[in-house]
Amino acid sequence: MDTQKITLLEGREHQVYEKKQGGPEVDIACDKTSLSGSVSQRACVFCGSRVVLYPVADAIHIVHGPIGCAAYTWDIRGAVSSGPELHRLSFSTDLQEMDVIYGGEKKLYRSLVELIDQYQPNAAFIYSTCIIGLIGDDIDAVCKKVAKEKGIPVMPVHSEGFKGTKKDGYKAACNALMKLIGTGSTEGISKYSINILGEFNLAGEAWIIREYYEKMGIQVVATMTGDGRIDDIRRSHGASLNVVQCSGSMTTLAKDMEAKYGIPFIRVSYFGFEDMSKSLYDVAQLFPDRPEIMEKAKEIVRDEIRKYYPEMQKFKAALTGKKAAIYVGGAFKTFSLIKALRTIGMSVVLAGSQTGNQDDYRRLKEMCDEGTVIVDDSNPVELSKFVLEKEADLLIGGVKERPIAFKLGVGFCDHNHERKIPLAGFIGMYYFAKEVYESVMSPVWQFAPRKGGLK
């Protein structure tokens, strides 16, 4: 099949939009499960829950089901911990045929007891996978029983893969967190305090962000869930503000905490100078009775940008006029990336996400230049088509997109679980620019067939 001549998948017309002067105003249809038979880049409910809760490092995470779901999510996310590393182990009830017939509750119970005795965790998360929903295991009852016997919180996570999209998995994870929140003491929590939500400490990013806020004189009660600790989560209802990054995964939790504990929240992004600065200012503004917080924020922004700006100009000089295609998980990340790419002189020819909603796509349309293609829940054929048609020099995506970029002979930047260097914060913007520069300007592309091949 010649990918350059392919047309869109039937039934996908409403999930793809090209911004054109005088073109039709189409609302992108999102929140849809993928069409049966499509080569989707999306995952499932379980995946959503697993990635959100995974970084809680002093809990055990048991995947209740056949072995696969535990095997594929074993230490795949570079969410680093400053202490315990229980989250990097893979625990599975490894259900067999007989368990499917007779039920897996007893096995789950035994597994939990054995693991808690062995590892002495501060809590346990039990993920139900697809078939748990069918064989009717009452995992809530098992969790309750074990929690009582062992004296630690044991949280069921209802993440049966087929019960919705990855976003529903985020919700299930937030529900589990909500059960923990409010069970710890709020003693010693300052009025000038926040929780950092939706920051998973990939390559140590949460540490960078935490440090900025602490420098401003703000106490960080809990990061959810990067470098996460059960005790911090339990007392996080004592914070004055929730600062939410990664709009898709944690907004639910922020809303629930607002409803139950009256904690307001703001949405931020830590990618790029512009959004990073804004996320410091926005927080400072909410503590007006202490102006030194804002002063400190300004100082941080000034110092940090001064530190990295000159270096960035070198990258910008080389990258100006180059084109990027973005296909990442959350839409909020797409917004930041567009701005960050503009900072280094690059334009965006394709922007898409796996989990954006109507508002996200409306905003994307406003932000993008003429001719930019906007997609929801795309697939490799479409991505290849647009990358080639629009002559992109860079694709930003995750694990499944990387080899496609390289096969086409264009640069790549992993902005997903597998990034090895922090991309958040001011220093993260510098790393991002550096990574983009190194990939786009790599001499290897000159050997790619589309640049002429063997001469």
Binding site: T3, L9, G11, T33, S34, L35, S36, G37, S38, V39, S40, R42, C44, V45, C47, G65, P66, I67, G68, C69, A70, A71, Y72, T73, W74, L89, S90, F91, S92, T93, D94, L95, Q96, E97, V100, K106, K107, R110, S111, E114, L115, T129, C130, I131, L134, G161, F162, G164, V381, S384, V399, K400, P403, I404, F406, K407, A448, P449, K451, G453
Partner: protein, 449 residues
């Protein structure tokens, strides 16, 4: 730690990924996962991480409705979508724990797709039942390969001068090497599945949805007329050979995947017999080179203790190879259950009565680590997940098996055949000698080794 119902750090994964990998070895095939979206996504991600190649596969995208009313509608819709949009030669459907538990019957749904005219003329849909709660990824591979044999092979009554080789789970590089060996021997073969030129494809500047490699449907159909089958591996390949014998009366012989000297000897003899060809001097010379290096470096191998984990059809010949080198396989685990595997490994381990060996439930990396702590080893061989143990215990580590997520090479350099044996030796010696250099006292630090 005594465990009753729990796996910690598995030495296996689930059936469907094996079925997906096998299906990629058919030319123009789009694997299809009949289950939730996540399964397909995880399998593609894992295969992509292992091969650093795009891996295409479709999914039935189950929803709550499908789990109540059955997945027939999803699969029928999928077949239609796939043929109209992705235009493959064949769709290879595998089930998942979800569709199996619901009770979807792939044979019946496939028939319905055909009856309803959803399968275009000259195109095919094959299927394999691959419940995740039975066996492991190896079982899934075997089931899909068996499906290929059962559903494609035709016996026309006219025998062809060719031999089927059923590839056990091996790398594209290994499959290429098997074809090269057959060519040098002058044996006409049909190798299936064949992932060479699919998962080790060159950069073309285009995204090739269906790369040029893979066994063709014509070749698969002709396997019913072949004069014999050689199956490589009792777990991952033999079931397909049995199916061919049943359906088309093609006699078969099972040998191990030709890893190391002895297993390669047996493969060469089996192929020579089945194809009626003699062993040419080139092959004998390759063998001589391997034996030569084994002799040259014998002192570095002798008595070295090794821990291994992985899949049955690789472990059996590999353990034998280590024994042939004078090494001591101390601890062996595999999450894959299997009577044939158990029996054969125990036969081989008669030469190593000291060895710990466990397979199936409870045979995981946690157990392996415990064994290693009790009885330390000089070398660890296994997939990428071994790196935690290797680091904790400071053991030289050779990556071998599936998946390898943190190194390259397995796609391009074969481990099978005599030449593949040389590569294994080079890798083992590399880490052992690096360790010796690292730990040597200044006065014992040797230039010539």
């Amino acid at each position: 730690m005594e465990r009753e119902g729990l796996t910690i750090n598995p030495a296996k994964t689930c059936q469907p990924i094996g079925a997906m990998y096998a299906a990629l070895g058919i030319h123009g095939c789009l694997p299809h996962s009949h289950g939730s979206q996540g399964c397909c996504s995880y399998h593609r991600s894992t295969l992509t991480r292992h091969y650093k190649e795009p891996v295409m596969a479709a999914t039935s995208s189950f929803t709550e409705g499908a789990s109540v009313f059955g997945g027939q509608a999803n699969l029928l819709q999928s077949v239609e979508t796939i043929f109209s949009v992705y235009d493959p030669e064949v769709i290879a459907v595998h089930s998942t724990c979800l569709s199996e538990t619901i009770g979807d019957d792939l044979q019946q749904i496939t028939k319905k797709a055909s009856d309803d005219g959803k399968i275009p003329e000259g195109k095919y849909v094959i299927y394999a039942s691959t419940p995740s709660f039975v066996g492991s990824h190896v079982t899934g591979y075997a089931n899909m390969v068996t499906g290929m044999a059962e559903q494609f092979a035709v016996s026309t009554g006219e025998k062809k001068d060719q031999v089927n080789i059923v590839a056990g789970w091996m790398e594209p590089s290994d499959m290429r090497e098997i074809k090269d060996i057959a060519k040098v021997m002058g044996a006409k073969i049909v190798l299936f599945p064949d992932t060479s030129d699919v998962l080790d494809a060159p950069q073309t500047g285009k995204h090739e949805f269906y790369p040029k490699g893979g066994v063709t449907i014509d070749a698969l159909r002709s396997t019913g007329d072949s004069k014999a089958t050689v199956a490589l591996g009792c777990m991952s390949a033999e079931p397909a050979a049995i199916a061919l014998e049943k359906k088309c009366k093609v006699p078969f012989e099972t040998v191990e995947i030709p890893i190391g000297l002895s297993a390669t000897d047996r493969f060469i003899m089996a192929l020579s017999k089945a194809a009626g060809v003699s062993v040419p001097a080139e092959i004998t010379a390759d063998r001589g080179r391997l034996v030569d290096v084994m002799a040259d470096m014998e002192q570095y191998f002798h008595g070295k203790k090794v821990a291994l984990f992985g899949d049955p059809d690789q472990l059996i010949p590999l353990v034998e190879f280590l024994l042939d080198l004078g090494m001591k396989p101390m601890h062996i685990v595999s999450g894959t259950p299997g009577l044939r595997f158990d029996k054969r490994m125990k036969e081989i381990l008669e030469r190593a009565p000291y060895a710990n060996f466990k397979l199936g439930m409870g045979a995981d990396m946690f157990l392996l680590h415990q064994w290693i702590k009790n009885e330390p080893v000089d070398l660890l061989i296994g997939n990428t997940y071994g790196k935690y143990i290797a680091r904790d215990e400071d053991i030289p580590f050779v990556r071998f098996g599936f998946p390898i997520l943190d190194r390259i090479g397995h796609s391009y350099f074969a481990s099978v055949g005599y030449k593949g044996g040389l590569r294994i030796l080079e890798k083992i010696l590399g880490v052992l000698q690096d360790r010796q250099d690292r730990d040597a006292l200044e006065e014992k630090f040797e230039l010539v080794m």
